[in-house]
Amino acid sequence: MNPTMTAAHRGQTDKVEQSLGATTDGQSEQSLLFALPKGRLAQDSLSFLERAGLSIPTDTESRKLILPAADGSVGFVMAKPRDVPTYVEHGAADIGICGLDVVRETERAIYEPLLLPFGHCRLSVAGPAEDAGVPPSACLDVADLVDRPTKSAHLPGRPLRYMSQPRIATEYPRLTRQFFAERGVNAEIITLGGSVELGPILGLADLIVDVVQTGTTLRMNGLVEVRTILESQAVLVVNRASYQLKAAEINRIIERMRLLTT
């Protein structure tokens, strides 16, 4: 066990207990820690919780790492969306909200009882539109290749298996690899931390795999969607141990949310 990790975990627990006054007997009276995603889904998540009649933090702008709900029943931690499944799998948070795309990409051992009615988007393969300007650097490559793989991206209906070895820029390497592997394509995955639509423009990649909401960003960058890998929306995730150990509180939350989802 890595001692620094343990220390960090312990520190975290201490903070929870200070801010929530959690009971120490470890029984079901213990408060819940709820992980919410920063960014795109943050506001929707909070207003959804509110509509579900759950107490939410009064001051989300606070710099405190753990925010107590207005009635003190639940603690909230604002995490990077990618980290929500990780927090929940390890039990650092009992329950959380994040995108289904992130859940499938990270593939953590967690429960996902409910899909929530917001955060709709799709994970798509996109490539340069026919009329997209091709930078000079990429043109040099074209001269060497008789049948440049990207050509197939110009034809959205054409099977992707005709591509020999596409280079694909993405923040979702696992789902991307799986999608192409299932089609027998040995894709070269270039994992980026963001702004993947730059990939084809800079000649770094032939295609991208990224989340699309309205498609505006793609169009602005001369890209068109070729395939949809996954329809995504917000999802409630629960730690496997907490699901049993704190069944009463968690079921209460699920019940309230279910009323809004069906």
Binding site: M1, M5, D25, E89, G91, Y111, P113, L114, A241, L245
Partner: protein, 431 residues
């Protein structure tokens, strides 16, 4: 040469090492107390042996390498298969039941998580040749006893029965894709995915209701859940599974662990070679199971005459983390740190003879081998948190560090003053 170690392994030393070892011993002792005999299987074996269990995840995570004669070997990823091999291949004609317990390292090429490196410690027990619910109950009860012994109070045993689900699958006659879809939904406890499955799959009314009821077969109300499940039986296998589970729950009555039991008939993840009851132990503050076990009646038969079997393995590393999170730095969990006294023999053979006598009396004593003067010994003792320094002057003179950190001469050594040295807790020493 650098001092790096490969990803997934770690050094444990001082308190951490001794408390791990203590916990391992304590857990083993729990099993020994119920008649489980020690077994030490090899660290590595033929890959084909260790792959005899059917857990794909476990199999894909095995460390494999070639022996010099070209045969494929694996580091053991768990103990159950080696012990089943021993019983099947060598002890099959010894009277049943046979009980074995073990403790040591196992190796899995998986992402390290909280309390689990790629090398980690397991302690467990296996009971062979006993098919009845009383045997399953014994293993469940031992798990609870071991958890309590490790200082964990708020744990739960989540008990399922793989036969209920497998028999339901038989009844539904699904194609592999539909089966995958149902399994996905249940593994994730996902209502939307289960709805998708029900929408996409044509089922008869009774079967549909059996699937729709699955999410309700989880919780503390053991009786209620079993009764509900009984109303949706589709075939003999489901009936027998529930009968068996009821038998086990009844047999638990004598063990006082009823309050810890949660039933979950939808827990079908990581069930590998289990054929009957399966369970996991969870504890607050740790998101993963600290122990898991169940019945595996098909495994021994792969190595010899078939034998029913049931067992459990506890993760020592995870128990350590769970205990730490439960108690913080509570004294109850503070392990005994050995604080050996430092003896300065001053070159006298009599001094060494006296040290030997003290050691035989059970005291932990380290001897100065550098010919230090008293000052140097005090400085070393202060930096390494030693409390007692013994200086030979035709008999040991006992110097002890006081609260302010100064060494005070207590006079000639009295053994009783040192007696606590082997059991003193760190907190007591540091105050």
């Amino acid at each position: 040469m650098n001092g790096h170690v490969p990803f997934g392994v770690a050094d444990y030393f001082w308190d951490e090492a001794s408390s791990r070892q203590d916990l391992l011993d304590q857990l083993m002792e729990t099993f020994r107390g119920s008649g489980y005999g020690d077994v030490i299987p090899p660290m590595f074996e033929f890959d084909s042996t260790l792959s005899a269990q059917y857990d794909d995840r476990l199999r894909s995570g095995m460390y494999r390498f070639l022996d010099r004669d070209g045969s494929t070997l694996s580091l053991r990823p768990e103990f159950t298969t080696p012990v089943a091999r021993l019983v099947g291949a060598r002890l099959h004609d010894w009277p049943m039941p046979q009980r074995f317990c073990y403790g040591g390292s196992v190796f899995r090429y998986l992402e390290p998580q909280a309390g689990r490196q790629r090398e980690f410690w397991q302690v467990g027990g296996e009971l062979f040749g006993a098919p009845k619910p009383a045997a399953d109950a014994e293993i469940l009860a031992l798990t609870a006893t071991a958890m309590k012994g490790a200082g964990l109070s708020a744990f739960r045993l989540i008990v399922g029965h793989i036969r209920y689900y497998r028999s339901l699958l038989d009844a539904l006659k699904l194609d592999p894709q539909q089966m995958q879809q149902l399994q996905w939904a249940l593994e994730r406890k996902s209502e939307p995915l289960l709805d998708d499955f029900l929408r996409d799959t044509p089922l008869r009314t009774g079967q549909r209701q059996a699937v729709e009821t699955l999410p309700q077969l989880v919780g503390e109300n053991v009786d209620g859940i079993l009764s509900l499940a009984e109303r949706h039986i589709q075939n003999r296998g489901m009936h027998e599974a529930l009968q068996n589970l009821r038998g086990i729950v009844d047999a638990l009555g004598g063990y006082d662990i009823h309050d810890s039991v949660i039933i979950d008939l939808t827990e079908i993840r990581n069930l590998g070679y289990y054929t009957g009851v399966s369970f996991e132990a969870v504890t607050p503050g740790l998101g993963t199971a600290v122990a898991s076990g169940g019945r595996y009646d098909d495994l021994v038969g792969r190595f010899g005459p078939p034998q029913p079997a049931v067992g459990v393995a506890l993760g020592v590393d995870r128990l350590m983390v769970a205990r730490q999170r439960q108690d913080g730095d509570d004294a109850q969990t503070g392990q005994h740190r050995l604080q050996p006294a430092l003896a300065l023999p001053q070159g006298s053979p009599d001094a060494l003879a006296q040290v030997q006598r003290l050691r035989q009396a059970g005291l932990h004593i380290q001897v100065d081998v550098n010919g230090w003067p008293l000052d140097a010994a005090f400085a070393y003792a202060a930096e390494t948190d030693l409390r007692d320094v013994l200086l030979w002057e035709d008999g040991f003179q006992h110097h002890r560090r006081d609260e302010r950190g100064d060494f005070v001469l207590l006079g000639p050594l009295e053994e009783s003053r040192l007696a606590g040295n082997t059991v003193l807790r760190r907190e007591e020493l540091s105050t």
